[in-house]
Every structure is written in C-alpha cells, then in structure tokens.
Amino acid sequence: MNGSLVQILEGNTFVVSDDRGDIEALANDPTGLFSYDTRFLSRWVLTVNGERLTALSTDDLQYFQARFFLVPGTGTVYVNATMTVIRQREVADGFHEELRVLNHSDEPVTLRIRIDAASDFADLFEVKDALQKQGTYQTRVIDGNLVLGYRRETYVRETWICSSQPADVDETGLQFSVTIPAHGEWATELDVVASDGGRHTLTDGRRVRTDMARGLEKWLSRAPHLRCDWEPLEQIYRRCLTDLAALRFSTLTMPGRSLPAAGLPWFMTIFGRDSIFTSLQALPFVPELAATTLRALAERQGTRIDDFRDEDPGRIMHEMRYGELTAFEERPHSPYYGTADATPLFVVLLDEYERWTGDTKLVRDLEQAARAALAWIDQYADLQGNGYISYQRRNPETGLENQCWKDSWDSISYRNGDLPGFPRATCELQGYAYDAKVRAARLARQVWHDESFADQLQKEAASLKRRFNRDFWVADGEYFAVALDCDGRQVDSLTSNIGHLLWSGIVEVSKARTVARHLMSPRLYSGWGVRTLAEGEARYNPIGYHTGAVWPFDNSFIAWGLRRYGFREEAAAIAAGVLEAAEVFAGRLPEAFGGYPRSLTRYPVEYPTACSPQAWSTGAPLLLLRTALGLEPHDDHLLIDPALPKRIGHLELLDVPGRWRRMDAFGRGRIDTNRFTAR
C-alpha cells in the first residue's frame, strides 16, 4: 500500500483507496468499494503505458468526494514529468470517476491507459474475519460495459463498470489507446455501479454530486449558528456538523430521510444504541435525525422469540446488516437484537424529542411501540426475576456477550479483576429503565391520555429507584456497583457508569454529591475526561478499551448528568477537557483516547484501533454545548442557564430550533475549570 488511506462515503456506500486512488485489497483488508456491507470492487488500479503512478497531492474535497493529482512512475524523480493525471471521484450508488490526462510537452503523446478491475464480493464480516466464499464468480462484457458478478444460489451481486469514452474492455479491465496533442488533454468519465442483479441504474453522476453538495450546504445552514471567543470551538462545531452529515444513513424503507449510522468504515448501518445516543446528542441542532431514528427502530421492533437473533417482543434492535452472511442466516444481523439498553433508551429519546419539538403526532404514532418497549423491560428483560434488566445471549456462537455499551469481553469486572457470570444486570440499564418509566408516564398523561398507565409507571419508577439505591450501593466505597451478578451479588468496581446514573435521575439526592466527587476524583478523572474504569481496579489499563480509556460520548452524558443534579462546575470541567481534546484532534474526536493523566502525556493519546469519524464521538461536543449552555425545554420555552468554562469566553448559539420555533442562546465563560483539568 502506497501511503495513507483515503476514504469517501455517502450513506452506506464508501470507497477506501490508497493516496493514488488505487484499490488493491487483500482478503482481510478494508480497502475497496463497499455498499450494503458488501465489497463491490477489490481491485481498481490505474496504469499509463504499463506503469503505476505516484501521488503529488490528494484532496478530500467533501466527505463524498476526493481528487488525486498523479504523475506517471513510481520513483521519487518526477520533477521532469511531462504529464499529469487527475482522478476526481464521487460516491453515489457506487462511484463516479472523472479521469483526465494532461500532456504538458510540445509533442503529441500516444498512451496506453488501463484500469484493472476485479471484485471478491466479500461480506464485511468476511473482510473482518478472513472467511472463504461459497459462491461462484462470473465476469462478462455487456454492450461495452464490464460486469463483475457473483452468485450463490439465488443471491446475486454485480458491479457494472462503464466509460463515456470507448474502451477495449476485457475481463480484467478497461484499456484506452489514445493520442493526446501537444499541451492537450484527454478525459473520460467512469461509472461503477453496485447492483443486486436486478435493475441497475446508472445514475447521472453530475446530478448526484450537485445534489449532495447542495444538501451539505443546506444541512449546515439549517443548523444553529455558533460564534465564540475561543476560535477552536467554531472549528469543532463545523467539523461535527459536517461529519454528522457524512454519517447520515437512509434505510430501504425511508428513502430521503436519514438517521445517524454508527461510524466509518465498519459501522455504516443502523445500530439501536448508537443511533439513539447520537440522536439525543444532536437534538438541539438537527432534531429530524431523532424522528427518523425512532421510526426506523419502531419498524424493526422485535415481535417474537428468536434465540438466534436474541429477539423478544418489544425489544429494540442492536444492529442491521445487509451482506451475504446475513442473507444466508450465517450471522444473525437481519437485524440482531442483542442489546439491553436500546429498548429503554428508545422511550427516553421519544420523550426528549417531543419535549424539544412538540411533535405529538410521532408520539401518538409510536404509542404501541413505546408500550411494547416498556412491556419488554418488565416481561422479557427481567431474566433473574429480581426487578432489574439483565442480559445473557441466547446465541452463544455469534451473539454478543456484553449487551451494554461497554461491549468488550472484559468490560465488567469485580475489583479483583474476576469476571461475573451471566445474566448480568449492569447499573446504567436500571437508570435507563427508571428514566423510561418516568418519561413514559409524562407521555401517557399528556399525549396518550391514559392516566392509570401513567400512575402505574410512576409507581414502578419510584419502587425501582428505592430498590436500586439499596441494592447497588457499595457501602464501603460509597458509589454504585457496576452490576449485580447472576447471584444478585454486587460487581463492585468503580466505573464511569455511575455518571449515566446521574443522567437518568435514578440517584437519590443524598447520594449525588458523593457520586459526583468520585467522577471528578483522580481515580476516574484524567484531566481530559472520566475514565471507563477507575485507576486502582485490577483490570485498569489506560489504553484498555472499556477498562481505562476515556470515551468522549460517555463524558458528554456524564456532563448532562452532572448538570441535572446541579454540579455546574464539574459539568463545565468535563466540557472543557473533552473540547480541548477535540481541539488537538482538529475537531474530530476519536472513539476513545488513553486514560493517562493529562500531566503525563500533555496530549490525549488516540486509542489505537478506534474508528473515525464515529457518530457518538461526533455528537459529544454538541451535547457538551447543550449542557454548558444549560439548554432545557420547558413547555413552549427554551430555558438557558449557562455554566461555561472560562476559556470559552463569549458564546452565541443562534437559531436553536424547537417548539419555540427559533431561539438564540448566549453565555459567557465564568467557571475556572483548572482545578479539575490540571492533572
């Protein structure tokens, strides 16, 4: 691979190439043209007179568009090159590529320009796990187009490649024999279209990219405008909105409406948890994402018992995939339901969305879905019969072991490092369940007009809160256990999960100050953010994915929780730390960074295998802005109660959309956060 990778995308179609624009994928390497979780091109190599090219420069013009300036030859001596090759590529239902060759000499040149093309039609899961294909390949030349095909029984996928200039097409690629006059130019347009073997539409590339550019401009202009004394925040804000636009994803059932996918490149699909959290973060800025997320998840809500998919009636899905292994039921992602938090969070989002937008129609449309979700909490999620949500996979081969956001194998442990058995009842799930019941009670009273259901939900919530504060409270540490194990015993390590408890409101006021003190203690707070697991626990590791790393998304919800209980300074410190980290990453926060003390590394250390941009990291600065400005809908008004870090100075957020139509929010940074962040 020559140089760094370039990736562009639109929806769930994306291209990952080298810095020349070439694709030479190995079996388990994530380069190529991907669409609907399938690789449609694994080879796309340009040569001129049999020679590879060298990149002079590469520009990511937009998230869906890149331009490569190339010269022939692979050596370092290209100063004498008399030819430039420009490839400009846009992603659509595949991609569109404009190839231009400029002759700078005062002699005509005759060239053999060739593009080698091939596809292995790998499922993303096969790329990750390097699995073997079971079907057969067929390559055809049809009406001057190169058609790469794959078939396994009735499953057919094809890649159509066509050129605007006549080409000699053979089964391994397209070749152009051209003569370019002195100081002249030759160009062709190439379309690569991903197809399921039925109708293949060769989209008009020019129209598509104009639409996309216009779409991005409109998206940016419709979001609230931000002005700030601390310039990096303006850059961070713009980056977040642009990345969020790139992460938009349309389902097959709702074309033209988008919801946030989870991340690039592996996670361009609906995830219950990620799409909900990101929609919550983005609510004050782009509320329509939440509406699409809610509708899409309701469409796919579980209705039956299916052990392979960990599906139950009322359960909200975890992950949807479209590739070959899902099609043949060799993977359960059609969709897979193994998540214990998305169901209560679905109800939380529905209520929060209505509080911001006043869209009671959606709340009425989704009444049945919300009721089914609430029923799931009590009937299907209470695996131990103790009144708490627990999880345990019923698909031991390809299901998920940990069905909470900390989903790696070692994320939930006792202080001594031992791992609990299953089922596991992690603490934040109980918080989400409490919040779901409280919020659903409001919806039942105000929108569904069902007083008795509202009363019942409120009673259940109060009882859950009482029991939880008794059963999860670790007396000798004065914090909440991360989980109850399968014997009802406390899993007693100190974790960031206690911050989510503040967000949900399940924490009794008398315990809140102690919880906040733990969150900001040197064991949990690094100076950049709250670590997933506290220093001093047996499994603590500053670069452990869920055992010590700092997650921006996690911190944004912790800050929201701190504000909820009135800890203004602490919330401002979390915002300051994460936003200063975002400044270091040029506005694009990674999924996670190391939990090292800030004074040790000076810069946040990016977690090695994290994907980027990732939706809920992209949403984190947005939620931190909301919490720092203290934006809270109250009936038809937007309350503003700023608690901003001093460094931010004057901050304006203009035209915040909501049931009040548009409102401006202003604040001035007055909180000195140094006593927390100087660590």
Binding site: L252, A327, G421
Partner: protein, 138 residues
C-alpha cells in the same frame, strides 16, 4: 386454487388465523396493502394472497388486486416464512423472494411472522467460575 381452510397447509392456516385475528396490535396506526404471488414448482403463479392493513385492522382475500407491495415467492419458501423456519429480511437479501413496490410494507408485514420453531427464550445461567475458566482456556 387452495381452500383457505384446507387442513394441514401451513400457508392457508397462517392467513386464515391472521384474518381471524382482525386486529393486530403491532400494525397499529399502519396502513398498507400487500399481495403474495405464490409460484408453483413450474415457476407459475398458482396462488395469491391479498392482505389489507388499515390502522391495524387486517383483512385477507385471494383477490388479484393491486397492492403497495407485491411479493413473488416460491411456495416452499412462503411455507418456511409462515412457520418461522426462514427470516423474511434474510430471505429478501438472499433473493428467495422479490418485492416490487413498498419495502416498508414488507418490513411491516414481517412483524406478524412467527419465530423459529426451536426458540424457547431461555438459556441456563453461567457462573463466574465458568466465565473465568473459559477465559483462561482461551
């Protein structure tokens, strides 16, 4: 044409029960029409089922009427669908059925299909010791 009450035919039984239910809560506030064109062994359409959903109320007929979604499917696969032996979304991705028109209607409809016959919703608990032993073995 098969009689809707024909004994032992899972497809007839499924649609008969769906029609008898009259109101399906999971379809509440949804409206759509669907037609299943069922292919016989020779690939010809030998049988049709028309489903109308209006605000959660369901009506079944054998009419060859227009629909928001027209699903064409060989009989053995429809039989597998209505008995939970294959998953509708997977079948769609796999090309076992084609859906002309509204994919949303198909996605809505699959909510009333049963789960796999062997699924119980139950699993035996695993102890901490077993989890630790498995990890140290790995």
């Amino acid at each position: 044409m098969n009689d809707a009450t024909e004994f032992g035919d899972p497809i007839s039984t499924f649609f008969a029960e769906l029609g008898k239910a009259g109101h399906v809560p999971t379809f509440e506030r949804n409206s759509a029409t669907m037609r299943f064109d069922v292919e016989d062994d020779g690939g010809r359409i030998g049988e049709r089922w028309h489903v109308t959903v209006r605000g959660g109320d369901v009506a079944i007929s054998r009419r060859n009427a227009s629909a928001d979604a027209v699903v064409r499917i060989p009989r053995p696969y429809l039989e597998a669908l209505v008995t939970g032996r294959i998953n509708a979304t997977a079948a769609y991705l796999r090309g076992l059925l084609t859906c002309a028109g509204s994919t949303a209607a198909l996605i809505m409809f699959q909510r009333c299909l049963p789960g796999p016959p062997g699924s119980t919703g139950r699993v035996a608990p695993i102890s901490s010791a077993a989890v630790m032993a498995e990890r140290s073995a790995a």
